[in-house]
Symmetry: C2
Subunit: 465 residues, 2 copies
C-alpha cells in the first residue's frame, strides 16, 4: 500500500493552474490561500494573466524555478492533460484535479478521463480527482477549496466524501453541528486516489480517531471490502452509501460516474467489515460525533434519564427495534434514589424525575448502576420556567446537574444527549452537555448511536491479535 | 358529538386554583395570564394566600361572585376532587386539570382518577387532563401554561399532544422551526376530553388546515378509528404514535397511563383512516408544515432540481423506496433548457445545473413540465462563494431564481426544499424559499412529504360525497 504523500495535507509550496481574475474558483482559491498564509509560497499559472493578487502569473508550471509540493488544477477539461504532463515534468508528487466534465458527463468525458488515468498510472505522481474540490485540513490550516477556515475547529473526525460540492457544504455546516474534522477529502471520479487510499491514510493519521465515508459506489468492491475490514479493526468507520436503488444508481452514474452496485451486497460487505452504516447525512455526522467523544459500550443494556416522558418512550421504542434492552435499575440504584425522591416519582427505567430537581442525581445514579452499559440523557424544560429561574440567579447546574463533573467521576460508559426546545434552551444544553455527553438530533439517533458503540465494541473483540 | 366549549380556547374570565407565591406553575401561570392581558378577569384561589400579583386571592371558587368561563386547576391530587366539586357548583363549563399523580403513578392514583371520572361523567362540565398543561392558542393569545407567546406566530396547524411537557417544549421549539400553530392542546390522562374530541374540534376549526397528533395510545380504539377516518376526509391528519414496542409500551404506561396496543393494528388503523404516519418528531412537524402550505400532489412523478449531486442521489433513493418515480423530462423542457445550458450540463432528472447559474430557470422549467407532479428543490452553494458574491452586490435571486415569483406563476404543484450549509446560507434559504417552497430537514423528509401529499390526495378522491 503506497501511502499518500504528506504534500497533500501540509504542502510547503502550491501552484494553482487556472488562476484567473474572472471570478469563480480560479479567483477564490488563490485569494483564500493568500489569506491562509501561503502568499510567499504560492505560484499561479495562466497564459492569459500577467499578475494577480500581487503575484506574477506564470505561463506554464514548468516556468516556475522553485520546487512545488502540490498542484491544484482548475482548467477546462481539454487542457488538463497538458497541464498534468507539465506537473510530471516539474516533478510534482501531489496533484488535486478539480476540473469537471469527465466520466460523469458521457463518452467523450470518459475517454479524456481514461487518457489521464493512463498518464498517471505510469508515473509517481498521486492525483486526487477529477470532479472534486480536493481537501480541507483544519489542523494545518490548508484547503484547496474556498471555506470559512476561521470558523472550523480542528478535530478528530476524518471525512471521505465522494463529491466536491457535498464535501464543501458539509464543511460549511460543520461548525453549527459541533462537528470537528481532522481532514475532509473529496475524491470525485478517482483516476488514482480512492476511498481505499484514504481509509488507510486516516487509519495511520494520529489526529484521526473516527472515519466518516460518504460513497456513491466503491471503485473496486473487493479491495474496498479488504480495506474496510482492516481499517475497522483499528478505528471506527461510519458510512453512508447512496445510490442504493435503481433510481438512485442512475442519478449517481451521472453525478460521479459511479457504479453503485447492489445494495444488498453492500449491506453485507459493510456489516462484515465492521463498518457502521448511517441512514442520512444528519445521522452520519451525529454518529461520528458520538464515536469521536464517547467510550464504546460493552453490553446492550441501556438506561434512559428523561424530563419528557414522551421522548423517553420514543427512545425505548428505538432501543427495542435495535435489540437493546432497558433493564430494571438495581436495588442499590433504587435505594439511592428513594430517599431524595418525592413520593410521586417513579424510580424505574426510563427514569423521569419530572420537576423534582433530581435530573443530575438520577443521571449519575443510573450511569453508576452496574447493570447499565450506556445512558441516554434527555434534559428538557419549558423555556419560560428555565429563563425565569436563571434570571433569579439559579445556576443551570442546580436544575440539571453538572455533566462535566459526572463525566469525570464516571468516564467508562457512553452517554448521549438529545433535547428539543427554545433556541436558548438548545444552546444551553449544547454548552453544558455537549463537551461531555454528545448532543445528537433525536431520541432515535441517540439510541442508534449507543447501538453502534456496542456493535463496534463486539466487532473489535473479534480483532485478530 | 358534543363539541368542545369555546371557553377552553377564548375564555372571557379565568380562575386559577392553586395560585401561590411559592414559585412553580402556581406562580408562573397567574403571572403569564396577567401579561397576556387577563388581569381584569383573572381570579386566584388558594386558602393560604391573601393577595398575589395585585389581586385578592379567594379561599374557594364558590366565593367568587363574577361568572367564570374557565378553571385551571394545579392543586395536589388529594385536593382535586373538592376543587372540581366547587367548579361544578359554580357552574363552570370548562376545566383544565393540570395536577399530576393519577393513573400514571399506580393504584392509588388510578382510584383517585376514577373518582374524578365519575364526577365529571354525571355533569355538564368538560375537563382536559389531568396530568397535562392544557392548551396554547396563539390566535387568541391565551395559554394555560407558561410559554413565550410573543415568539409564536399564529398559524394553521392544530396540535394534539398527549403529554404536557412534550406539548410545552414543542411550543418552545416551534418558532425556530417556522412551525405556526392554530392551537396546541395537551390531553394527559383523558378523564373526559380526548383525542377524538380534539380531532372533531380541529376539523371544525376555521383557523386549522392541518392536524398533528402525538399519541401514546388511543383511549378507545374503535371510536378513534371512526373519528380518524371521518376527520381525514376533511383535513389531513399527521400522526406520530409511540409506545410501538414492548419496551416503549411499558414506558408509556408509567408516563400517561396509556395502553399502547399492538403496533401492527395501529398501523392498519392509521393507514385505512387516511392518517399520515410520521417516524419521529422532526418528521412529524416537517410533514405538518408541508401540508400547511403546499398543494396536494396529483401523481407519483417527481422532479428533483439540485445543486448537490449527492443530495439529489439521496432524494432519488428515498423516492424509489416510497414508490415515487423520477421520469425523464419532456422534450419541451429539455428543449427550453438546452439553449441557456452550458455544454457540460446534463439535462435530466435529477437536474443538477452546477455552477451554470440556471437553478431558478431549471426549477421553473421542471415545475412546468406536464409529466412532473411535484418538485424537490435542493439549493446548496459553498458559503464562501455565496458570501463574496453577495458582498459584491449580486442579488441572491440572480444565483437561485425568485421562489416567490416562480410560485405565483406556477401555484398548482407542491415544491419542498432542503439544504445544508453554513448558518448564513440556511437562514438565506429559509427566508427566500421558506414562505413558498417549504424548507424541511433532509432530502429523505422532502421525498416523504411529497409521497404523503400524493397519498392523501388519493385518499381524498375516495371521499364519500
Amino acid at each position: 500500500m503506497k501511502r499518500l504523500p504528506s504534500q497533500f495535507f501540509n504542502p510547503r509550496s502550491i501552484v494553482v493552474v487556472g488562476a484567473t481574475k474572472k471570478g469563480g474558483f480560479g479567483s477564490g482559491i488563490p485569494r483564500m490561500l493568500k489569506m491562509l498564509g501561503y502568499g510567499d509560497r504560492l505560484y499561479l499559472v495562466n497564459p492569459r494573466e500577467k499578475e494577480m493578487e500581487g503575484l506574477a502569473v506564470y505561463r506554464r508550471v514548468t516556468d516556475i524555478a522553485e520546487p512545488i509540493d502540490l498542484a491544484i488544477i482548475i482548467v477546462p477539461r481539454n487542457q488538463v492533460k497538458a497541464v498534468l504532463e507539465d506537473c510530471l515534468s516539474k516533478g510534482i508528487k501531489a496533484v488535486i484535479l478539480e476540473s469537471a466534465g469527465f466520466g460523469e458527463t458521457g463518452l467523450e468525458g470518459a475517454r479524456l478521463e481514461d487518457e489521464l488515468r493512463e498518464l498517471v498510472k505510469n508515473s509517481d505522481v498521486r492525483v486526487i480527482g477529477p470532479n472534486c474540490v480536493g481537501l480541507i485540513n483544519p489542523h494545518g490550516k490548508f484547503a484547496s477549496t474556498e471555506v470559512a477556515m476561521e470558523k472550523m475547529t480542528p478535530g478528530n473526525i476524518g471525512v471521505i466524501a465522494q463529491s466536491g460540492v457535498f464535501g464543501n457544504i458539509v464543511a460549511d455546516w460543520s461548525p453549527s453541528q459541533d462537528m470537528h474534522v481532522s481532514s475532509l477529502v473529496t475524491i470525485g471520479n478517482r483516476i488514482d486516489v480512492d476511498e481505499v487510499d484514504l481509509l488507510h491514510h486516516f487509519a495511520d493519521d494520529d489526529k484521526t480517531d473516527v472515519i466518516v465515508l460518504y460513497l456513491e459506489g466503491a471503485k473496486d468492491g473487493k479491495k474496498f471490502q479488504e480495506a474496510a475490514r482492516e481499517v475497522s479493526f483499528r478505528k471506527p468507520v461510519i458510512a453512508y452509501k447512496s445510490g442504493r436503488t435503481e433510481v438512485g444508481k442512475k442519478a449517481a452514474a451521472s453525478h460521479t460516474g459511479s457504479m453503485s452496485g447492489s445494495d444488498g451486497i453492500y449491506d453485507g460487505v459493510l456489516r462484515q467489515s465492521g463498518i457502521i452504516r448511517a441512514n442520512g447525512v444528519q445521522e452520519l455526522f451525529d454518529l461520528a460525533r458520538v464515536f469521536a467523544s464517547q467510550p464504546l459500550m460493552t453490553g446492550c443494556e441501556i438506561g434512559v434519564v428523561t424530563l419528557s416522558g414522551s421522548l423517553g418512550v420514543m427512545a425505548a421504542d428505538a432501543a427495542f427495534h435495535l435489540g437493546l434492552s432497558l433493564p430494571d435499575l438495581s436495588a442499590d440504584t433504587v435505594g439511592a434514589l428513594r430517599e431524595p425522591a418525592p413520593p410521586w416519582m417513579n424510580i424505574k427505567n426510563p427514569l423521569d424525575p419530572g420537576p423534582s430537581g433530581l435530573f443530575g442525581i438520577g443521571l449519575e445514579a443510573v450511569l453508576q448502576d452496574p447493570g447499565i452499559r450506556g445512558v441516554i440523557a434527555i434534559p428538557v424544560m419549558p423555556a419560560s420556567i428555565v429563563e425565569s429561574l436563571i434570571e433569579q440567579g439559579v445556576e443551570p447546574e442546580v436544575l440539571l446537574g453538572d455533566p462535566g463533573k459526572i463525566r469525570r467521576t464516571l468516564p467508562g460508559k457512553p452517554v448521549v444527549t438529545c433535547t428539543i426546545g427554545s433556541d436558548f434552551w438548545i444552546s444551553l444544553i449544547r454548552k453544558m452537555f455537549g463537551p461531555y455527553m454528545t448532543v445528537v438530533s433525536s431520541p432515535e439517533t441517540a439510541t442508534k448511536a449507543l447501538w453502534a458503540l456496542h456493535r463496534y465494541h463486539r466487532f473489535r473483540q473479534e480483532a485478530p491479535l
